[in-house]
Amino acid sequence: MLELLVLFRESIAGTLVIAAVGSLLGVYMLLRRVVFVGAALAQLSSAGLALAAFLASAGVALGVLTDRYLLALLFTVVGVGFLARQDHRRGIPADARLGMAFVLAGAAAILLVARSATADLHDLFFGGDVLLMTRAELARLALVGGGVLALHLAAMKEFVFVSFDPEMAATLGYRVRRWSLLLYLSAAALITVAIASAGVLLTFGYLVLPPISGLLLGKRLGGVFAWSVAAGVTGTLVGFLASIRLDLPTGATVIVSLGALALVARLAKSVR
């Protein structure tokens, strides 16, 4: 077992980065009641990766312009712009806009992958293939995840204020739309690098399941963040060990582990 853990140390470390930062960001998504923004952004990011694969297989190489991370980030940022306007437009309900972004981006990604010569992206839409994470991917995750974490530790009170009471924040001089955009962009940055290694399902799982555990166990906001990150990290380690021991797909096993922790949190709350 120990040899296997050492063998997959990059994968475990990289997934723990996604777990810790994704679980923290997910608390905002949960409390702002925009959980499916995370799902839509993850799907948009996957469409960007699929486009990069399609262009590569078609022989289109424009240097940095066809870089998979840049295209994934571009799709996600465009998605942030599209979804962030949901409070300011009428005509299409906000949840319908999310659903539209999710299914169209998913369909586009599937079509692009189907027309590309590479097969390594087929896992993108399900569990991803975290066991194949490279040292370069880990370094990228650590860099982006660390930056997002530092931003959130520094600006937590600002993000909380504009999320909880945007009107009051605006009366006190906060540029609410800019702060909200920064919040979503930070999520977009993490999702972009996470999707390439962990896939859509696992990345979205981190944005939803640990924050549910956090909300059930934390009495104060700080506690909710702490419990959410703890649940994300614990669920990842348990899921990794279970997947190796039982020879199961890692991403799906981690998600089930995160779900089981949410159930335990629910039981703990009812006992308390």
């Binding site: 009471d165 009107e167 906060y174 009495k219 906001l221």
Partner: protein, 240 residues
Amino acid sequence: MAFGRHGVFEAVSFGLARGEMLGLVGPNGGGKTTLIRALLGVIRPTSGRIVHHDPALTMGYVPQRETLDPVWPLTAGEVVLMARYPRAGYFHRPGAEDRASARRALAEVGIEELHDRAYGNLSGGQKQRVLLARALATEPGALVLDEPTFGMDLAASTSMLALVRRLNRERGITVLIASHLLEEVVNLVERVGFVLDGSVQVGTVAEMVVPERLTALYGVPVAVDVVNGHRAIHARGLEG
């Protein structure tokens, strides 16, 4: 002055003297909240402009409490402390003085003991007091209250309005209060503004709260009885 889908106001001009209480009343959907949000700078006009003749006047805002989601695990003290965030500055935590100010504000509205209670678990009246405390923690020259007694029972709404009146009289805080509860407002303030279809008409309560004006405002016959200085307002036609 237009606010996109929020509506359009004709040239609106009214003064608010230091220390006075002004009420904004009118039917639901008449534009009271839009006008208040525009005055506070929450929304900006898509055409036209808003001119404050006393830009130094700080306004403490008490929003409708239904706009705040109780799912947030924040204590009453943490909600009030938000008023001090601009003083702390971006990326800095509020200091001891800010925390003391939040406690003082809670004490001023009579609920210091709720400091560590979850905001989402408070009653409607308690939540409204927390929001009033938060507005006071901004050390405002004027308080702007949007439907401060909406959904409260008689005891809670009476207590809330008495508190607002006390703050006005004892601390000289200017008060602008918007409500669809006409009778409640006109018995609290000295002047009143009728908000309807993009216009605002302001005058003293004695000038404005007369059957002819109220009938025109609400589109139904309205009677006004004055008993011991208290104005009782009835929509006629319900007698039988």
